[in-house]
Amino acid sequence: MADSLRGKLAIVGAFDTAVGVVPGKTPTELCVEAALGAMADAGIGRSQVDGLITCNAFAEPIMYHAEAVAEYLQIFPRYCFSVNTGGGTTFTVLHHAASAIATGMAEVIVISMADSLRSSMTREQAKRVQSSTGHPQFEQPYGITVPAYYALIAQAHMAEYGTTAEQFAEVAVSCRAHAAGNPTAQKREPITVDDVLASPLIADPLHLLDCSLVSDGGSAVVVTSAERARDCAQAPVYLLGVGEGHSHEHISQAQNLTTSGAVDSGRLAYEMAGLGPGDMDFAQLYDCFTPTVLVELEDLGFCDKGEGGAFLQTGATRPGGSLPVNTHGGMLSHCHPGNPGAMFALTESVWQLRGQAGERQLPKAEVGLVHGQGGIMSSHTSIILGREAA
């Protein structure tokens, strides 16, 4: 069964709205705009869509979110729901969509997500709603912020493996270097390790520039079966492997602070694809905070456990490196509108694999890995995408 979804699903449309500070548009409007853009990219009309997956928006929660978006679009799907696994949502729903297509529950599925954390919420509201991942009785009352949750992981990694603040900062520097080549990125001015360390401490050892952005934006893809994909307007991008790992919800309950469920999600995805970390031409790794990427590099097998810091310092993840990471700039430099954040890593991967990434196009982009995680390293999904179905 490990290969049951390999090569069966293709992404045939991809679209991002304007991102960063996008005032005057509600999350629903951004979600609809993204969906229509991805359908146009695929050459798929509304009447051909029989599946819709969304995620709820913090800035505009709707009880029946996907149904409301379907109604707005006037599409009438037979497969329709919204998902919330935080930052893992993007790739979790891609996994569900692949299963739905393989089992005939739907044939053409639009996955669209948007939020407006920057323009439709106060900073305090955004902080509070994001930190609600904590246990309401036994964590949240202490006033712990989201950066501080991740700082607990960073401190533990530093104590266990000798990782340094300079090594975490390398992630931010690398993402910014990629963003410099992306005209849509919210932050494009190059930064150095010293700039990161000189930025204000938010939650030790994390500085301001170790933290992702707060943004508005929407993004969507259209997925269908490999057979149907051949009739679409764009070259298909195939799903080769997918796996999930869910180890805890609350960080105080994590069995291991420095090794995550990415070990499980990665192993399952590699097994399905019949590929390993060394086969990846790029990786888009969830980067809510810099330590997240360092742990993911280790847990997904791009370097040994405890060697993430040294690996980053080789420059491997930067433009021109042996494993470019977050080629659009990631959530550290491109944009981060909350739960949809990893969608932009997915659309970027589609463009890289199609050869449509413009100035930042990688010289070799045959196969790549995308990884999302939600909660506090709680809910992991890894996806391997490729230009060829097998």
């Binding site: 509070r128 009785q137 036994f138 949240q140 006033g143 950066p147």
Partner: protein, 140 residues
């Protein structure tokens, strides 16, 4: 969504009331499993080790060690002082809990340091368990 000048108070349930009653009496209480003898945190209706559904509240030592920590420089809201030290504490009886470290010098913290529980009065009903650094010789 609470007002910016109010701390987040724990929503106490029937199952967790003995924990918070203990805090009001300056005692840290954990559930111990009647079947396997293991302690657990947070309180649940079942044992997180063996699944047994009979558990007994016990007063525990309140001693532990810092498993990790962070100094929160940008607080959640005005209700929380900054800097505040948040910590994961490995209790002597086994479970790990989140708490804050009271009166800790942010520059001299380290993972593994010994701590002991104390209680901060937040309201008539809520005394929050917090921890203070203790010298090693006091650690049993």
């Amino acid at each position: 969504m609470g007002a910016g000048n109010e701390k987040i108070l724990p929503p106490v349930t029937a199952l967790t009331e003995p924990y918070w009653a203990g805090c009001r009496e300056q005692e840290l209480r954990l559930q111990q499993c009647d079947a396997c003898g293991q302690y657990q945190f947070y309180p649940r209706s079942i044992c997180s080790h063996c699944g047994h559904n009979e558990l007994t509240w016990r007063r525990v030592s309140g001693r532990g060690r810092v498993a990790s920590f962070s100094v929160v420089r940008r607080p959640m809201s005005e209700a929380y002082p900054a800097p505040t030290v948040i910590a994961l504490v490995d209790l002597a009886e086994g479970p790990r809990m989140m708490s804050s470290l009271a009166d800790a010098d942010p520059d001299s913290l380290a993972i593994g340091q010994a701590v002991a529980v104390d209680f901060a009065e937040w309201s008539e009903d809520i005394f929050m368990p917090v921890f203070r650094l203790v010298t090693e010789e006091k650690q049993p």
